[in-house]
Amino acid sequence: MTEASARAAGPRPAEARSSLPALGPTLAALLEVDFSVQLRNYRSLLLSLVLPVVVLVAFSANKRAAALADPRVRVSLVMILGMATIAIFGYALNTATDREAGVFQRLRVTPAPTWAIMMSRLVVQVAVILLMAIVVLVVARIFQNVTLDALAYGLTLAVVIAGAAVFLGVGQALVGLVGSVDTLNAVTRLVFIPLFGLGVLGRTDILGSTVQDVGRWSPGGIVVTLLMAAMEPATWGSDAWWSLLACVGYTAVFVFLGIRWFQWGAH
């Protein structure tokens, strides 16, 4: 065998690659490419940021809307709109598209743990949701005079992470349980409306107290309650604690459904 052909064939096989690849570099490599893909899809990233901002600015321009709710409600509603958009239309559909392209099957034949493959993608989405929340808070400060103290900002961002977990859990459950991209596309549209709408209805009794209660304890409703309490830490009470508990419960159920029955291959 010539030197050139030896190089083309690659080095001789490892006699015994007995040790498994370390977890740290595996996660770092997955995160690097997942962030890179997210940044390259900059149009989708920009839209995720623009939609909540446009709605928030529209709220401040509309005097009747301003009369209906206090600024904390508007900021919270806009944030859950952003979270739902990123988790449902962004994460779930992108994951389904990658699955259809065989990306997950290719990753699964490597020694990388499957939870690391999924976790890396989720971490990137949590970062995008945090970025959206920061942009919304900045815009709220400029257009709605919503000024928080340092503790409130910190608590709000912590709640955003908890809220992101709930919404990404819903996204994970959808992409886990629905096999084809086309079906998922239809299902996400159906799920998005109640997910966001119930969050809104939890703040008003316009459709009666039962609907308000359902809305109040829906995934969107509990995140709104938490965000409002976080923006004014003095109001954090049992309502917020129960919402936090519900938040953990929803996340656990949706993530379990989405990972336990996740379909790695395309249909």
Binding site: G10, R17, A22, P25, L30, V103, R108, V109, P111
Partner: protein, 273 residues
């Protein structure tokens, strides 16, 4: 005279075990999709430095067998041992010892070729710098494409990259699922050369194919699989010799019996979907 410590003896024993262990042993593998049994008692062994071909018509169970070996499917029963490691008992350790090229390549289209190369190197525990990635790409004639996105690659380039990724960690065993499907004759010939070079460098290869030409060109031994069962195993020449007088084969042969005649004779003339 040097004393041999217990640790050294363990090392010697492990080395001896590796020498004596086949890169791949599949025993009585059964895989079902609901009520349909796709793989029904497949047993095969790929020897060190051997290119082993799995031939079969569409739906015969080739890809399902490979998927069960790769860990993409859980078999109903049977065992898969990769270099002495039980795949079900130690799935990650088994995966670390194999290189895989899937039928559909499946990389993210937004990533560059260099990024894909470095990602998969890291996933297999191979530290690789940006320059290192370029060097590896050069060995496949892809050095000028390092910053190109995967979505911009031609079919032939995608296959070459996929083969590169399959061998990026120098695995003792490489599994290739229809590696030359959809390639033009030049690209196919080039890929055969690369597969043969894998054998020269000491690797074992298990590939699936529809092509008798490919089986004869590169495989040391082939197994014909149909309806989830291995029908026969031998060298390509050995298969022709073994079945040249089989009435199912002679009835369809035009003149001298070929591997194509043996294949069709044993698996039937019906077109499979």
């Amino acid at each position: 005279m040097r004393w041999i410590t217990c640790n050294s003896l363990d090392g010697v024993w492990n080395s001896l075990e590796q020498v004596n262990t086949a890169p791949l042993e599949v025993r009585d593998l059964r895989v079902s999709y609901g009520p349909t049994r796709a793989v029904d008692g497949v047993s095969l062994e790929v020897r060190a430095g051997e290119i082993f071909g799995l031939l079969g018509p569409n739906g015969a169970g080739k890809t399902t067998t490979l998927s069960a070996i790769e860990g993409l499917l859980e078999p109903d029963s049977g065992s898969v041992t990769i270099g002495g490691i039980d795949r079900r008992a130690s799935p990650r350790a088994a995966k670390a010892r194999i290189g895989v090229q899937l039928q559909s390549t499946g990389f993210q289209s937004a990533l560059t070729i260099a990024q894909i190369t470095r990602l998969y190197a890291a996933l297999y525990g191979v530290a690789m710098s940006r320059q290192g990635a370029r060097d590896v790409l050069r060995s496949m004639g892809l050095e000028d494409e390092a910053s190109k996105r995967y979505g911009q690659f031609s079919g032939g380039q995608q296959k070459r990259l996929s083969l590169l990724i399959a061998t990026i960690h120098d695995p003792p065993l490489v599994l290739l699922d229809e590696p030359t499907a959809g390639l033009d004759p030049q690209a196919r010939r080039q890929l055969w050369n690369r597969i043969e070079k894998m054998r020269e460098s000491g690797r074992s290869v298990l590939l699936t194919t529809h092509s008798m030409e490919e089986a004869q060109a590169v495989c040391d031994r082939v197994a014909i699989i149909d309806h989830g069962k291995i029908v026969t195993v031998d060298t390509p020449a050995g298969l022709i010799e073994k079945h040249k007088d089989d009435p199912r084969v002679t009835s369809i042969a035009h003149g001298q019996v070929t591997l194509d005649d043996v294949f069709i004779g044993l698996t039937g003339e019906d077109v499979r979907d």
